[in-house]
């Protein structure tokens, strides 16, 4: 009997501990956060930390590697191909992002108007984003082919050129060609997201502006743009991040050629780490992307989320 009483007492004590714990907001809050924290640590923090650590080692594929401090970065600083990839990445990101924003905003404004077959046009605009990247990259590879390019073929048939354009064989042609492919793929994301933002702007603002005799440009400058800027900040941050870290388009279309003129930091990192076997150096190249990415994020957020400017005032 004594044993039974003791176990009942212990059970009561335990249950009361559980009950109290589950009644505590702090405990429950912490418990609910555990899965999210675990996922973040496992899939984000750990790979990021491991990547950072690898960049400080001379790890080769299949080998353990040892800590070498910043030697990989010192070595990369003397590597002309690395600096070329930095230039290519910045060029690729800046040109593609600017055009994607301009075309995306134009399309969003257009699709926000009353158009016949509006839903269908919106679905069509989304198509490039829906097609798997590798498939669209292969399509562009054919479009840019030095012997079978449909663009060259049409231009020759039209009598505008006499020989096929060397889209991917000339360094600058190749750079612009991959930028164009990236723009084609990235515009729908920008356009559709900005369209969603446009639809949240209250029509009463435009009506008031109309009554005040505002021109189209003034309405755009003083209503649309400020109201849209938080969305622009988010969409352009994502767009810049995705462009800066692009891999599939380049790897499928040019593999970084000709003469490394389209190598981005991501493709060079893969080439050095996996194809070449130098995991440490590949990780160091990936790590070298972080400052650029952080700068891009800060620029987008602090540059475009200026609250006073959004409210129509000056900075």
């Amino acid at each position: 009997m004594a044993v039974m009483a003791e176990s009942v007492a212990a059970q009561v004590k335990r249950s009361s501990l559980w009950t109290r714990a589950f009644e505590s907001r702090n405990f429950l809050g912490a418990m609910f956060m555990v899965p999210a924290i675990a996922i973040l640590i496992l899939f984000l923090a750990y790979p990021l930390a491991l990547g950072f650590w690898l960049g400080l080692t001379d790890t080769k594929i299949g080998g353990a590697g040892r800590y070498i401090g910043f030697q990989n970065f010192v070595s990369l600083a003397k590597d002309s191909v690395f600096w070329l990839s930095v230039f290519n990445t910045i060029f690729y990101t800046v040109t593609a992002s600017v055009v994607k924003f301009a075309v995306g905003l134009y399309l969003a404004l257009l699709l926000n108007e009353r158009l016949p077959f509006k839903s269908m046009i919106r679905a069509i605009v989304l198509l490039p984003f829906v097609v798997p990247t590798v498939l669209s990259a292969i399509a562009f590879w054919w479009i840019y082919d030095s012997q079978f390019s449909i663009i060259s073929w049409v231009l020759i048939k039209a009598g505008l050129i006499t020989r096929y354009i060397d889209f991917l064989g000339d360094p600058w042609n190749a750079r612009w060609s991959v930028v164009a492919a990236n723009i084609w793929r990235g515009v729908p994301f920008v356009a559709i997201t900005l369209l969603a933002g446009l639809q949240t702007i209250s029509p009463s603002l435009y009506e008031a502006a109309n009554l005040d005799g505002a021109t189209n440009l003034q309405r755009f400058r003083h209503i649309t743009l400020p109201m849209l800027s938080p969305i622009i900040a988010v969409v352009m941050t994502f767009s810049v991040l995705m462009t800066f870290t692009d891999f599939q388009l380049i790897y499928t279309i040019t593999r970084g050629g000709p003469i490394n003129s389209t190598h981005l930091m991501a493709t060079l990192s893969f080439q050095r780490a996996i194809t070449g076997g130098n995991l440490g150096e590949g990780a160091a190249i990936s790590n070298a992307m972080i400052p650029f990415l952080v700068a891009a994020i800060l620029l987008s957020f602090f540059g475009l989320q200026r609250s006073r400017w959004q409210q129509g005032g000056r900075d």
Partner: protein, 437 residues
Amino acid sequence: MSDFDRRSVLKAGLGGAALLAGPGIVPVRAAGWTNVPEPNASIRVLRWKQFIQAEFDKFAEQTKKFSEKTGVKVKLEAESWEDIRPKAAVAANVGAGPDLIIGTLDDPHKFPEKLIDMTDVADYLGAQYGGWYPVAEKYGKKGKSWIAIPQGATGGCLNYRVSHMKAAGFEQFPKDTAGFLKLCQALKKNNTPAGFALGHATGDANGWCQWALWSHGGKVVNEKNEVVIDSPETIAALEYVKQLYETFIPGVLSWNDSNNNKAFLNGELSLTLNGISIWTVGKNSTDPKQQEIAKDMDHAPMPIGPVGVPTEQQNVLVAYGYKHSKYPKAVKEYIKFMWDKENYDAWEVASNGYVSPPLPAYNDNPVWTSDPKITPYRDCLKRCRDNGFAGDLGYASAAVMGDFVVVDMFAEAASGSATPKQAAARAAERAKRYYQV
């Protein structure tokens, strides 16, 4: 029986076998094989993806036969040969994945300590069939141990249009680099140009660029693994390729491994470096134009340069098993079975000469003489050097090739974006980053 004992027996057997083996004669069984696969073994094999379906079907059929004979279950998978490299690396890194990989070149030399010692299999096959080609041995061995078993090479030869060559004033395909340049110039003049990939084409571009470098006496490293690419011989090779480039079809700087196939089969290209695949596709095509091209084309080895010996670089295939495998004996048994002449021969026939053999004894396969157009592919391993020449195979050789150091050097010099001297100096600087580690 220990390895030492068995090898002693093998060596003794080899002496007798060598006496019996004449040209084209396979020696009688000279080596014993005592390996017994683990009970209830099951292995995962990852190999390069087939280009010729009949080849893979035969490989799968032989694999099934192996399973029936030994009871070892085999899961056979195939990936594009360029995709095998990262997968092999990851398997080595994480200690999990396929038990056996049939991949390419110096991959096993990047993680030799993760691989099963295959010395007994290599000794058995070598003794049984009269020895390996020296380049096969270089790819298979690390120090005194074999870490991989060479499967052959998806060989590359010059593919050319016979009628275009004759129209250019050549009755025979030139055998030296000087004649080769003249042919390319004449082809260009007739508007039937040659074309060789100078983009980041792992197989084709590395193949012909290394040939151009070696044929003029240049090399990335010497026997001591010291970078010596910035040399007068390299400059001579760059000057030579600069002249060749002027005769090429436009766009080669962007070419990957498949561009030349497309252009050749479309009749726009008269001379290129490729496997036997262009001819095979053309021959089996339903398109009369492609059939006509196949009839009009032939194959030739790469010309010999000032060094006076063949200097080809081929896509050598190597099979390597991982120590993480629970069934290393089953892995060895599988290789032994698939490489045994009877099985290898049947597979080679199905592949129609797609893989150049690693053992000279396999050259007597009738497939090599079934059509004179196939014969040049038979001796690819005889004519080739390893991609780490003249140094060791390993991380550095793989990294230099993976980073396209030699290809970029030729592309820079040929396109005029750098002088030959500048291109060679830059290549040396890039190669040193790997060889100095």
